[in-house]
C-alpha cells in the first residue's frame, strides 16, 4: 500500500510530459493554419487549439480517454465502431488459442518429463524457439488458412495458441522437475506408479511455474491475435482498429484501440495473478 503515492506520482509525471509533448507536437499544425489565414497566434491561443484537434499528431490524454469512453459506451455493443465489439473479437480468439496452447504445452511437458528420447529431441528446439521471432509467421498462417477455406476465429486462435505454447512447455518442464530427489524417493518407497507421482507430487509442485508461464503466455497470445488481425485487411478486432486508424490518419482511434488492448492485457494478467494467489494459498504454497 505504501507504494500507492510513488506510483501515482510517476503516472502523474507521465501525464504531464504527455500534455507538454502534445502541445509541442501539435503546435506546428496550428501555426501553419494561422500562417495560411494570415493571422498571428499567441501562446495562450495555441495551447487550447493543440489539445482539441480532429487528427492530432499526438492526441492529448483527455482525447484518448474520450475516444475510449465513446468507443465503449457511445455505441451499441454490436456496432462496428464499438470497442467492446472489437475487443470481444480479439479477446475470444486470444482465449481460445490460449486454452489450446496451454493444454498442448502441458501435455508435451508431461511427455518430456517421462520420456528421455522426447526430452532430448524436443527440449533444445523448444528452448531455441524462444529466441526466434515466431510472430513473423502469423500473417502467412492467416492467409494460407484463408486460402484453404478456414476463416473466422480459428486462424487467429492458432497463432495465439502457438505463441503461448512454447513458454508453457519450458515453464512446465521446469515445474514438473521441481520436486527434489528426496521427494521422488519418498514416492518410490510408497511404490507409487508414474501416474500417481505425476498427479500427487509433480503437478502440485509445478503450480508456481505454471502460473508464471501462463502470465507470459497470455500476454504473448494477445499480441499474436492482434498481429493476426492485420493481414486480413482490417475486418474486425483491436488489431484492425489499429490498422484502419493508421490508413486514415485517425490518431485518436489508434490510441483508443491501443489503450483498449492494454486494458485487456492488464486484466488478463491480473485475472491469472488472482487465480494464482487463490490456488497457491489453498495449496499452502503462497509466497507470503
Amino acid at each position: 500500500m505504501r507504494s500507492i503515492l510513488p506510483i501515482l506520482t510517476v503516472v502523474l509525471a507521465i501525464v504531464c510530459v504527455w500534455y507538454l509533448a502534445a502541445v509541442r507536437m501539435n503546435a506546428t499544425w496550428v501555426h501553419d493554419q494561422a500562417a495560411r489565414a494570415g493571422q498571428e497566434v499567441t501562446l495562450s491561443q495555441v495551447i487550447p487549439l493543440t489539445l482539441n484537434q480532429e487528427r492530432p499528431v499526438l492526441p492529448a490524454p483527455h482525447q484518448v480517454v474520450k475516444g475510449l469512453w465513446d468507443g465503449v459506451t457511445g455505441q451499441a455493443v454490436t456496432s462496428k465502431r464499438s470497442l467492446v465489439y472489437h475487443g470481444w473479437v480479439t479477446l475470444s480468439a486470444t482465449l481460445l488459442g490460449f486454452v489450446i496452447g496451454t493444454a498442448a504445452g502441458i501435455l508435451l511437458a508431461v511427455g518430456i518429463v517421462h520420456n528421455r528420447a522426447m526430452d532430448q529431441s524436443v527440449m533444445p528446439w523448444a528452448i531455441a524457439s524462444q529466441t526466434v521471432p515466431i510472430l513473423a509467421i502469423a500473417p502467412m498462417i492467416i492467409v494460407v488458412l484463408n486460402s484453404m477455406g478456414v476463416t473466422g476465429i480459428l486462424p487467429k486462435a492458432i497463432i495465439s495458441a502457438y505463441l503461448s505454447f512454447f513458454p508453457v512447455v519450458v515453464g512446465m518442464v521446469k515445474g514438473l522437475r521441481a520436486p527434489d530427489a528426496m521427494q521422488l524417493d519418498q514416492m518410490r518407497t510408497w511404490s507409487a506408479s508414474d501416474a500417481q507421482t505425476l498427479w500427487k507430487l509433480r503437478l502440485p509442485a509445478s503450480m508456481p511455474y505454471l502460473f508464471a508461464s501462463l502470465k507470459v503466455g497470455i500476454a504473448a497470445s494477445l499480441v499474436g491475435t492482434i498481429v493476426g488481425e492485420l493481414p486480413t485487411g482490417a475486418v474486425a478486432g483491436l488489431g484492425s482498429r489499429l490498422l484502419s486508424g493508421s490508413y486514415y490518419g485517425q490518431t485518436v482511434q489508434i490510441w483508443a484501440a491501443l489503450f483498449a488492448a492494454a486494458i485487456v492485457a492488464a486484466s488478463l494478467v491480473a485475472i491469472i495473478g488472482w487465480i494464482e494467489r487463490g490456488t497457491l494459498r489453498r495449496m499452502g504454497m503462497a509466497a507470503r
Binding site: P6, A117, V132, A136, S246, T251, I254, A262
Partner: protein, 297 residues
C-alpha cells in the same frame, strides 16, 4: 514390454502401408527416427546430447519434404524445404538487403538506444527509493502490454524508413531492461555495501566497482529477453508501412503474390538472426560475468 516396441511399430507401419502407402511411408520414417533416437537417448556420451536433437530436426525436415512430395501439396500452401532452400540460395542479395534494413538498421540501432537509455534511467533513479517504488510497478505493467501496437503511431511520426522501426524497438526493449537493471542494482547485500563504506568509497566508486558488476547478471537477463523483442518489434512495425525493402515488408508483399517459399526463406533468416543475436549477447554475458556461479562449470 520394452522389447515389444519395435514389433508394435512394424505392425502399425504395415497396417498403414496396406491402407494408404503414402501414410505408411511417412509413419515408417517417423517411427524409425523415433526408435533410433530412443536408443540413442539411453546412452550418456556427451556427443549424443547434440546428436539427438539434430536427428529430430533432420527427421522433421525429411518428413516435411516427403509429405509435400507424396501428397502433392500445392506450393502456395506449404512449400517443401528443398524449394525454400533453393529460393534462399537464389535470392541472397534480396535477403541480405532485407536483413540489413530490418536487423542492422531497425532492430540493432533501436536495441542499443533502448537498452542504453534503460540502464542510464535505472542508474538515475537508483538514488531515489521513492521513484523506484513508483517506476517499478509501472515498468512491470508496461512490460506485459502489447507494445507492438504503437507501431502505427511511430510510423506516422518517424516516417516509413528504419527510424520508425528503431523507435518501436526502443520502447519495446526499454522496460524489461529497466526493471532488470533496477533489480540488479539492489542485488548487493548489506555486508558488501558496508565494506565499501569502510573503504570510504564515494557513491560513484561503490556504484562502479561493486554494484554495477554485481548487477550484470540481472542486466544481461534483461538484455537477452530484449534481443527477441527487438527483432519482433522491427518486423511487425514493417507490417504498418515500410520502404520497399525489409523482412516484414517482404513477408507482406509475398503474401499478396502467394510466394510462400520467399516468406519461409525470410522466416529462416529471421530465426537464424534471432538465435545468433541471442548467442552473441549470451557470449558477451559469459565474458563479463565469468565470476558468477551460473557461468562456472
Amino acid at each position: 514390454m520394452r522389447n515389444l516396441w519395435p514389433f508394435l511399430v512394424l505392425a502399425v507401419v504395415a497396417l498403414a502401408l496396406v491402407l494408404d502407402w503414402r501414410l505408411g511411408l511417412v509413419l515408417a520414417l517417423w517411427l524409425g527416427a523415433w526408435l533410433f533416437n530412443a536408443g540413442l537417448a539411453e546412452g550418456r556420451a556427451p556427443w549424443r546430447r547434440y546428436a539427438v536433437p539434430a536427428i529430430f530436426g533432420i527427421a522433421v525436415l525429411a518428413l516435411w519434404e516427403m509429405a509435400v512430395a507424396l501428397y502433392a501439396i500445392s506450393p502456395v500452401i506449404l512449400p517443401a524445404p528443398s524449394a525454400i532452400w533453393a529460393r534462399m540460395t537464389a535470392s541472397v542479395p534480396t535477403l541480405w538487403a532485407d536483413f540489413v534494413q530490418t536487423f542492422v538498421k531497425g532492430a540493432l540501432s533501436g536495441y542499443v538506444i533502448g537498452c542504453g537509455a534503460a540502464v542510464l534511467t535505472a542508474i538515475a533513479i537508483d538514488r531515489s527509493p521513492f521513484l523506484q517504488r513508483g517506476l517499478l510497478p509501472v515498468g512491470n505493467f508496461v512490460a506485459a502490454l502489447p507494445i507492438v501496437g504503437i507501431a502505427p503511431i511511430m510510423v506516422m511520426w518517424f516516417g516509413f524508413d528504419w527510424q520508425s522501426k528503431a523507435a518501436v524497438v526502443v520502447v519495446m526493449v526499454f522496460f524489461p531492461v529497466l526493471v532488470n537493471t533496477v533489480a540488479g542494482l539492489a542485488a548487493t547485500d548489506r555486508m558488501q555495501r558496508d565494506l565499501m563504506a569502510t573503504y570510504s568509497a564515494s557513491y560513484w566508486q561503490s556504484l562502479w566497482k561493486l554494484r554495477l558488476p554485481a548487477a550484470m547478471p540481472f542486466i544481461f537477463n534483461g538484455l537477452k529477453i530484449a534481443t527477441t523483442l527487438a527483432l519482433i518489434g522491427a518486423i511487425v512495425a514493417e507490417f504498418f508501412g515500410s520502404p520497399i525493402v525489409g523482412m516484414g515488408f517482404r513477408i507482406t508483399a509475398e503474401i499478396g503474390r502467394l510466394g510462400l517459399d520467399m516468406i519461409w526463406a525470410e522466416i529462416a533468416v529471421a530465426a537464424l538472426a534471432g538465435s545468433a543475436f541471442y548467442g552473441v549477447v549470451a557470449m558477451i554475458e559469459k565474458w563479463v560475468t565469468f565470476w558468477h556461479p551460473s557461468q562456472r562449470n
